[in-house]
Amino acid sequence: MTMDIDTQQMLVDSARHWAGQACTQAERRAVSAHAVGCPPERWRALGELGWLGMVLPEEDGGLDAGLPAVCLLTEQLGRALLVEPFVSSAVLGASLLAEAATGELRREWLPALATGERRVAWMAWEADGGHALSAPAAVATVDGAGFRLQGDKGLMPGAGEADGLLVTAHMPGDPERLGLFLVEAGTPGATVDSTLLYDGRHGARLTMAQAQGRLLQKGPAAAMAALLERALARGQIVHCAETLGTAQAAFEITLEYVRSRKQFGRALSNNQVIQHRLVDLYVEQQEARALCLATAAEGTAERAAALGARVSEVARNTWGEAIQLHGAIGMTEEYVLGEYVRRLALAADLYGSAASHLDRLAQLSLDASP
């Protein structure tokens, strides 16, 4: 299930090597310019590297590498500012499908996800941006032997041109029961509205007007929410690893800058006020990284909430301090820092804001009976 340290190190090395060639600024700009930010041939290349099967079971063509290894890989992808929706499709979407799909549908989809021939996204957020896993707005109705879906889902990175979209909806005539459905690309009634995001990635919203969906799982709302929360937690942890990779890279760029930039006849980094601010940033990042890997190895609800809150704060502090310590050049689009700043600013809230994670942690600590 889990990779040993040596294999993990090989994975990190190969990710670094790959990113050095395939994730240059020119490549990133070309991917951003693609209609949905995910050219199929590049996605299949990630499959050839084995990365798209990291969270999939071995019998389905995956590697079942374990979350700590997935985090170490994704941290490198975050450092390289990968544009493709790796976390959204290859972790969040793929792991939910792997957990929920059975039989023929499983045989049809999972090996194809691992190779990159197909791609999924889970439309986890509601149209209003909320994370109401146990109370979606969408409803299902019976249509012969199948189901039709009605309702909207909110913006999810990587959803554009995905071969399959995972959606939840209330089961027909029973608001207490939820179903998880697969909506295939091109299904009549399913409209995918793609948009370029502020950080150069792409996301999409989904509108379903009596769109056909294949039922994957159904059950009482609470039981279904538990399944969805497990999958969401995996995505959130790996998202944090990616964000921390980006934050560390932004920190290193800033460190290098204050060492070389001279004012008043000496490097900025010779000023104690600059040194202490950099230390604070570094310490926060290292703490959050330790928490991320610990949560990946052994997740609890408290840890996951704490991780979300800390990484949101680290992301926000990192981009803010990186700009301030650079000065005006840190605010330009052409200087390399700008890409990191944009990515971090979006990442801070993508899987819930710091405030929403703290709400959750407060519920766990203060509302539970002791």
């Binding site: 460190l255 060492r259 980094s269 010779n270 104690q272 040194q275 202490h276 950099l278 230390v279 604070d280 570094y282 310490v283 290292q286 703490e287 959050a288 330790a290 928490l291 890997l293 610990a294 949560t295 408290e302 840890r303 909430a305 704490a306 991780l307 809150a309 800390r310 405030a355 994670h357 703290l358 709400d359 942690l361 407060a362 600590s365 203060l366």
Partner: protein, 395 residues
């Protein structure tokens, strides 16, 4: 050596031990945030020593059990959450290990067993009125008179000097070369003629600090540790001991439990404090920081368990752990509101015969001030920042 293969079982044993053997009066003193007396603390040391748990991190040769760092941390956390007092680090974590490493065989025989028995209290004579973080500028001098050093000068901020039997002190024995080069490390009997201890009452109402004056105090040369003028090396080595403990995970969890208890038991304007949005947001923010600190500490524990050097990066644990304690105390005071404001110094200092008011509220203000010491003593937060900037970031 690990005499408990199952650490969960170990934790349960420590919890049970505390329930059965921590004296009720001391537990109450700690819980109420009052200052324990020397007599109370020595009695507790003896109970721990009898169980083999006073210096379990020491090697067996000196009365310890050779516990590894993970087991120690579990033990420390159980002690903190069980309302046991913090043990005097100067005695058990500093002078003991210094003597093991630098002491003469005679010094080791003379002091280590006495320390391990729990009956001998040590204080640290480092800071002086003009030498705080810049310790090397100290001026208390020791002049040779045959086999005797004659010590003159003063030390200040000497924690628990009023309880101490012995002091280890840095004194100036030479004026050549760099300031660090003329310093020696002496062991001084606090009962020596010429020593005056002046307790300094803190804003917290406790007597932690003391000023110690030396007037022609005679110290035998065999009470010098290491070579003359080479004391700085020993002083610096102290910074390497027990660095992981300085995350103060247990002490932070103790304060989190208290902040939670206050939030759940107090009401403001008809609403439980724990239901006010401001309290919830701050509590969760501090808890998230604590969870992160704990994960980060575990990283260093794993490194040490694997026999690797933990390096200067470990300074980040003290930096974060000490600050977090202050933030918990601030939250507790804010949650108590006006309940935390009355002052009763006699109640703080003299628990015998005092009527405990509310155990949570009575000393919250005192504790908030006590907590300020954590970011000053043992290398201030500014010094920790400097260490990280220079030695880790290479600035």
């Amino acid at each position: 050596m690990n005499d408990y293969p199952d650490l969960n079982h170990f934790r349960q044993d420590v919890d049970r031990f505390l329930r059965e053997h921590l004296p009720a009066d001391l537990r109450q003193t700690v819980r109420q945030g009052q200052q324990p007396t020397r007599e109370q603390l020595i009695r507790w040391h003896e109970v721990l020593a009898a169980a083999g748990w006073l210096v379990p991190h020491w090697p067996e040769q000196w009365g310890g059990r050779g516990w590894n760092v993970r087991q120690q941390m579990i033990f420390d956390e159980a002690m903190a959450l069980g309302d046991a007092p913090e043990l005097n680090a100067v005695t058990f974590d500093m002078i003991g290990p210094v003597l093991m490493r630098y002491g003469s065989p005679e010094q080791q025989r003379r002091f280590l067993h006495a320390i391990a028995s729990g009956r001998q209290w040590w204080c640290q004579g480092y800071s002086e009125p003009n030498a705080g973080s810049d310790l090397a500028s100290l001026v208390t001098r020791a002049e040779r008179d045959g086999d005797i050093y004659v010590v003159n000068g003063s030390k200040i901020w000497t924690s628990y000097g009023q309880y101490a039997d012995w002091m280890f002190a840095l004194v100036r024995t030479g004026r050549e070369g760099k300031p660090q080069e003329g310093i020696s490390f002496l062991l001084i009997d606090m009962k020596s003629p010429g020593i005056t201890v002046r307790p300094i009452v803190g804003v917290h109402g406790w007597v932690v600090f003391n000023e110690v004056f030396f007037d022609q105090v005679r110290v035998p040369v065999e009470q010098r540790v290491g070579e003359e003028n080479r004391g700085w090396t020993i002083a610096k080595s102290l910074l390497e001991f027990e660095r992981l403990k300085l995350a103060r995970i247990g002490e932070n969890k103790r304060r989190m439990a208290r902040a939670r208890e206050v939030g759940l038991s107090r009401w403001r304007e008809g609403r439980r404090v724990a239901d006010w949005p401001w309290y919830r947001a701050r509590f969760a923010d501090l808890q998230a920081r604590l969870i992160a600190l704990e994960a980060n500490t575990e990283r260093f524990v794993a490194r040490q368990m694997a026999g690797e050097k933990i390096g200067p990066e470990v300074s980040m644990l003290k930096l974060r752990g000490s600050r977090l304690i202050q933030l918990w105390e601030e939250l507790t005071v804010d949650a108590l509101g006006p309940e935390a404001t009355p002052l009763s110094p006699e109640w703080l200092l003299d628990q015998a015969g005092a009527t405990p008011r509310d155990a949570l509220a009575g000393t919250a203000s005192s504790r908030r001030f006590l907590a300020r010491g954590y970011t000053i003593a043992g290398g201030s937060s500014e010094i920790q920042h400097n260490i990280l900037a220079k030695q880790v970031l290479g600035l």
